[in-house]
């Protein structure tokens, strides 16, 4: 029973980890907390459901389309909305991303309806049984996708010129700009990456929990909780934070009360923000005035 709960926590945690990754990449590139990040995941799920269930598109094509759609939305969001307010105060930026989230949610409701829709499991992978713990096939998919995404991101950020440029721009925007790294371009790239990761995560989650236009708020908050728990801006921390939030939630619903699982992860978010704003594993940052 305990191990089973842990396994389902890890699976959910992988999804939160992907949500947190998108959030972290955007934060690193622009120092914006993207409140619309959860909507990418919602869109990924809803797009996949719409394509597979209504348009009878094969699942792999549907997933690719969902990723592309979310990447496009991310690009439009950055170019059309956030670029115009790059020097605004945090409140304005927060409200801009919340406004975008509302608009995306509304657009999804208009385009795909307000019903909960379902996507068939991806299949192919078997259901694994270890002793009396079973790992669902969709769970295996999710774990694999997180591993692949993390490896790809690690490669991009530590081995390619593009990734190094993005890291440079996030550490020292001015010096990076002097070296010819266009900040608007890295910002747009970051948002495209966040959109694709969010869309992929949402599509992976859709067969496990139904796709619904209002999913974005809670998925977004879980992603924030994960990113903050791992130390904002730290991609490895984001994945670890996601797993942690997933485990805590799963343990709460398994052993305390399932209704309170959301409340527990949000409380965790508040506590980490107040007590350890550098994240559970990070070093304290001293700010000079």
């Amino acid at each position: 029973m305990f191990l089973q709960v842990v396994v389902s926590g890890i699976v959910v945690g992988c999804v939160y980890g992907m949500a947190a990754l998108g959030f972290t990449i955007v934060y690193n590139a622009t120092k914006i907390i993207n409140f619309a990040n959860g909507e990418f995941m919602m869109l990924g799920g809803v797009l996949l459901a719409g394509l597979v269930a209504a348009a009878k598109v094969p699942i792999p094509v549907g997933i690719l389309a969902a990723i592309a759609g979310c990447a496009l939305v991310g690009w439009v969001l950055q170019r059309g909305v956030l670029d115009g307010a790059r020097n605004s105060d945090p409140l304005t930026l927060v409200m801009l991303t919340i406004g975008s989230a509302l608009a995306l949610r509304g657009a999804a409701a208009l385009a795909f309806g307000r019903d909960v829709s379902f996507v068939p499991e991806f299949g192919v992978l078997p259901l694994v049984l270890l002793g009396n713990v079973y790992i669902p096939s969709q769970g295996l998919w999710i774990i694999m996708v997180l591993v692949v995404v993390s490896a790809a991101l690690w490669y991009v950020f530590s081995r390619t010129m593009l990734g190094k440029a993005m890291r440079a721009a996030s550490q020292e925007p001015r010096a990076a700009a002097l070296c010819g790294i266009e900040p608007r371009r890295t910002a747009a790239l970051a948002m495209i990456m966040a959109g694709s990761i969010g869309g992929l995560a949402g599509a992976m989650l859709a067969p496990m929990s139904a796709a619904f236009y209002e999913n974005g708020i809670f998925l977004g908050l879980k992603g924030f909780a994960a990113a903050v728990a791992g130390g904002l801006g730290n991609p490895l921390g984001a994945v670890v934070g996601g797993l942690l939030i997933g485990l805590v939630e799963s343990l709460t619903s398994g052993f305390v009360a399932s209704g309170f699982k959301d409340a527990v992860s949000f409380m965790l978010l508040i506590l980490v923000l107040i007590l350890r704003p550098q994240g559970l594993v990070g070093k304290a940052v001293v700010r000079r005035v």
Partner: protein, 320 residues
């Protein structure tokens, strides 16, 4: 700013008297039940929006969780009326005091955060309240059935709606009066300094932690009052009314109105509540329109739509 203090205060009282007279006039003239309910809801939301303006506009502390305090106010009224059998006046007083105290206690830790983190923290707080309210069925009734059948407010021959209308006018004027006197006083001026720079505020000897807690508590009380009135008016409601959506809607009201005067909040609440009810079939596209409006306002009129329009209007008049 201090030079014009007395005249500004007087101007605020004049506006307040005007608003009160106008609303009273409306009360006598409106015959349609539907129009009456839209105006009542606008006034009730105004009360919370005025409080939020103090916090967001004046003190510069964003809250994405004020829906929670509206909810606490509503459940307090329901609890006082149904379980304790208290008179309405005491129930409403409790709906002001309890959120105020809770707000004061929460404010100190939560307002240590700033900028993005504060937005995140308060958003999470609102979400926690929603989950708890939906789960603690003993007190709140959860999502189904929620709170049902609060007593009617019909009194001395006046129908339920008319009594609530008068009560809302009174509450709104009270909220505006409190807000105006805070804003025009020493404390309010301190808050404005706090908004521009916390460091400066501390250097001139302000106890910033205390000031922030106080203003958070005041805005939580006003949100509670608004929630109490909402409970009295609706008589039946459930936790879904106090989710993250309500918090965002309240913030929208502030932004649509103005970030720098409390009168903007009233403009904003009426705009946000009345417009969707006027446009037929708007409900379908409501979220898209809200979202796009929010983006446009933040891009082109970050001080609030009402205020920017007002500025443009008065500037044109002066220059002409």
């Amino acid at each position: 700013m201090t030079l014009h203090k007395t005249s500004r205060l007087r101007r605020d009282w004049q506006i307040l008297a005007l608003v009160a007279a106008l609303l009273a006039l409306v009360e006598f003239c409106v015959s349609s039940q539907f129009h009456r309910s839209v105006i009542i809801l606008s006034m009730i939301h105004s009360v919370a929006a005025v409080g939020l303006t103090l916090l967001v506009g004046y003190a510069g502390q964003v809250s994405l969780g004020h829906g929670a305090f509206v909810g606490i106010g509503a459940y307090t009224v329901a609890f006082c009326l149904q379980r304790l059998g208290l008179p309405v006046v005491f129930a409403l007083a409790a709906a002001v005091v309890l959120p105020g105290i809770l707000g004061f206690l929460i404010a100190r830790p939560i307002l240590r955060l700033s900028g993005h983190n504060l937005a995140l923290g308060t958003l999470a707080l609102g979400a926690v309240f929603y989950v708890v309210a939906a789960q603690v069925r003993d007190v709140t009734g959860g999502l189904d059935p929620g709170i049902v059948d609060l007593p009617s407010m019909a009194f001395a021959g006046l129908a339920h709606e008319r009594v609530v209308f008068w009560l809302s006018i009174f509450a709104l004027c009270l909220a505006a009066a409190i807000a105006a006197s805070i804003v025009d006083g020493r404390f309010g001026r301190g808050l404005m300094i706090l908004r521009s720079s916390e460091l400066v505020a501390e250097c001139i000897g302000m106890n910033t932690a205390r000031a922030k807690s106080m203003i958070f508590a005041v805005s939580a009380s006003l949100a509670g009052l608004s929630g109490g009135l909402l409970a009295l008016y609706l008589r039946s409601f459930n936790a879904s009314a106090f989710g993250v959506g309500l918090s965002i809607e309240l913030l929208m009201m502030v932004i649509v109105g103005s970030l720098s005067t409390i009168w903007g909040a009233m403009f904003g609440s009426f705009a946000i509540i009345v417009l969707p009810n006027l446009l037929e079939g708007f409900d379908q596209a409501k979220q898209v329109v809200y979202g796009v409006a929010m983006i446009l306002i933040m891009l082109f009129a970050p001080n609030g739509l009402g205020e920017t329009l007002f500025r443009v209007f008065t500037f044109r008049r002066k220059s002409a």
